[in-house]
Symmetry: C2
Subunit: 475 residues, 2 copies
């Protein structure tokens, strides 16, 4: 498998480590870790999985550490040999975060998947990075707590912290930035640090927690995460209603946020998404823009929230508003939402999907969504839109045959256009997917003057540039 | 006025800049800024105000910049002369954050006090750093929005961002870490950067916003702040109730958080605080531990919250629970809470006060508060306790005659003991006051292995160590 440059953004080719140093490192790791060090082509290819048509760039070797000390040992060894280290969670990132453009050692966290502590009284827990969000919620169910952040995929919590993930529920419960109280991190020199204590608040020193959250493994490897939890609400209600236009749906979403209704989830699906979901999940939703909502609170509270929302929706000409607290109905609705991506991919046989992600101030959301739809149409691209509209965050799903260079280029060009549209509205090129390899150029367009300082931080903490090189920034 | 070493924590004396370079700088600034550059002893002393008995360390000159470009010009000039820059907001910090141990140029933000934008639809605003929280809320009242973070003092928003402030309301609305969406910062080399856009969420690059929030001016000077706002709730209710013991009050607070009641404020005053407040504010509260609460929501919502709380309080033997939505009654109660510090100081004539601040996991709060009270008693120190107990954050008010070295040392020793107690409970030496000069040693005890990486970030961004030197870290 040859290493390919992933995107036509002028990305420099990251130099591969010295072959001899790499071989010496692998031999030494094989001595210590035996068969656990894997270098077979299939396993390497699996760990270069990029979820889109981005060219896979496999690491030279894969190992699944079992303890923080093993991670520290592996990072120290890699640093001594100047070999890249690429952390790997569930492989669900979409901007090439797990690719290995210069090869190197992939640390797969599948064996560090233990919930280390649940502090129910404090509404927090400590997990290893390989725990997935669904596994955590399974674990928590018996104590009446839940972890709200839900990006759709059953991502690992280490990956979610590293990319600053969020998803549905963020409008009420925040993103990984708000959820992570503290981290244990193996720094690029192999030292183990805790970034903070377990208190709910701290003003103690520089906020290394937030520096590592969203750094996509480029400043260190997360080995444990202290997360805020929430009590499972007394009552949960779900609601759905359709609108004659995207604009009416988005306007309703904006007004709901502005009116202070504490919605837990508020998701938009455009007509194309709804059609895909109907076909995939055997539903009969009207083929029109749809808002899906969830309300959390007391029995009286969720009823009050639903009624306030209904008034706003009615004023915007909503059709068929309905709400329910029945678990089976709620599950069906939200499963359909989560399947929207796969439902849309199925509508485009022979093509791969790419979900691009922007976030704009809520006041610009209707304009942004309309412009995104119109531009896609003018470029003759199928581009269903869905998103976490309570935050101004939306995704456009794009499709291309990976073998069709013109098609993938057309999609990449549209994604770059969309990033620039968001930036022009004082928004961001990524609300939750991160920069990875795919949005390095967009980040420069968004925060240009700040980039030298991000690079200075990177060089200060990782002077050898071994931590997930080629992501977030070009050095 | 001579420069004194502020605390016996082994702090190195920060080298003063070259006298000639300083004089050349001041002459050149006088050419450009005329009388606006102030070097009189009185004004310099005013800007070394440290709110406690910490030895004042005045800057060499004070200037009030009017624009971001002026700040950039001043920082560039100071950097060229290797002269320290000390940002100054309202002077309400308590850990020596505005002291100038090596002299230098104090930037007083009193003239950068404009609200630059209120984006009511987006629930955000952009302010200059000299706007105080009360001035912002005055400005917002007409649009039905408010800025919730309330540290008691009418601090400047630049100072609040720099120290990672919070206060009452944080239990519901978070701290400055959650409130700041983006910053404009003059970096130590004089470049102007924006750390983020105005979107509610972002995963775009390293989180420079959170790196600067809480950095106490040591990594750059904040020149504009984008803040999250909230709708003024439809209904606000305040409640107060007394308990037979500190433990019963704290247990009620913990249970309230754990039960998911979305209290907006939940403040504890111990019996000594209540006595001081009664005397100061002409109230007749029972001389017993007191919880003060505020509930935000709909009319029905706040009633429901208050009743849920009442049940929990009753189970813990609360006395005289009462709640009200009358604005005049609410104001009186909260004014008394805000005056608690001054009320307690008045009880100790001839002495100055020092409010020390720790935060522990909520499950350890009762134990921490009891231990803090017992230890103060065993050391024969008056030490009223009050705090934001919903977060596990509490303050112990300490008193000493600044001229009585044994007394100030006894208080400092107790504060260090308290910091270590919090750290031993997996808490932090400061929940909201910051490190400044006073807690550099405690920070090292709390996060030791992380300190070299904080120092690396500091050196990378401020290689000349001119930004508020001698705070947060010893380099």
């Amino acid at each position: 498998m040859t290493v390919q440059d992933p995107r036509p953004e002028g990305a420099p080719v990251i130099p591969r480590p010295d072959r001899e140093a790499l071989e010496t490192l692998l031999a030494s790791l094989r001595d210590r870790y035996g068969e656990r060090l894997q270098t077979g082509e299939a396993i390497r290819a699996q760990h270069a999985h990029a979820t889109t048509w981005r060219a896979p760039q496999p690491p030279d070797a894969v190992i699944a550490p079992r303890t923080t000390e093993e991670v520290a040992d592996l990072v120290r060894a890699a640093a001594a040999a100047r070999v890249p280290v690429i952390p790997y969670g569930a492989g669900t990132s979409v901007e090439g975060q797990v690719n290995a453009p210069a090869g190197g050692l992939c640390l797969d966290f599948r064996e560090m998947d233990r919930v280390l502590a649940v502090n129910a009284e404090d509404l927090d827990c400590v997990v290893q990075p390989g725990v997935t969000r669904k596994a955590l919620n399974e674990h928590l169910r018996d104590v009446g707590l839940f972890f709200p952040i839900d990006p759709g995929a059953d991502a690992s919590l280490g990956g979610m912290a590293s990319t600053g993930a969020s998803g549905t529920n963020a409008v009420r419960y925040g993103t990984m930035k708000e959820a992570v109280l503290a981290l244990e991190v193996v720094m690029p020199d192999g030292e183990i640090v805790r970034t903070a204590r377990r208190a709910k608040k701290t003003s103690a020193g520089y906020d290394l927690t937030h520096l590592i959250v969203g750094a996509e493994g480029t400043l260190g490897v997360i080995t444990a995460i202290t997360l805020r939890l929430h009590g499972i609400p007394e009552a949960i209600a779900s609601a759905a209603c359709s609108f004659a236009s995207l604009d009416a749906a988005v306007t309703t979403a904006i007004e709901t946020v502005q009116s202070g209704v504490p919605v837990a989830r508020m998701e938009l699906l455009d007509a194309a998404c709804v059609a895909a979901v109907n076909a995939y999940s055997d539903l009969t939703l009207p083929a029109a823009p749809l808002l899906l909502l969830e309300f959390h609170g007391s029995e009286a509270g969720v009823a009050e929230q639903a009624e306030t929302f209904r008034t706003l929706a009615d004023d915007n000409g909503a059709m068929g508003f309905d709400w329910t607290t029945k678990p089976e109905d709620r599950t069906k609705l939200w499963q359909a939402r989560h399947d929207a991506y796969w439902a849309a991919v199925r509508m485009h046989p022979g093509k791969q999907g790419y979900s691009t992600d922007v976030c704009v101030p809520v006041s610009r959301l209707a304009e942004a969504v309309s412009a995104a739809a119109a531009e896609a149409e003018s470029r003759d691209l199928a581009a269903p839109i869905l998103g976490h509209v309570g935050d101004g965050n939306f995704h456009v799903l794009l499709f291309a045959d990976p073998a069709d260079g013109a098609a993938t280029e057309a999609v990449d060009a549209y994604a770059a256009w969309l990033a620039d549209l968001a930036i022009s509205m004082d928004g961001t090129c990524t609300g939750e997917h991160g920069i990875g390899q795919g949005k390095i150029g967009a980040l420069a367009r968004e925060l240009g003057p700040a980039l030298p300082y991000m690079a200075a931080v990177k060089r200060a903490l990782d002077p050898l540039n071994i931590m997930n090189p080629g992501k977030v920034l070009h050095l």
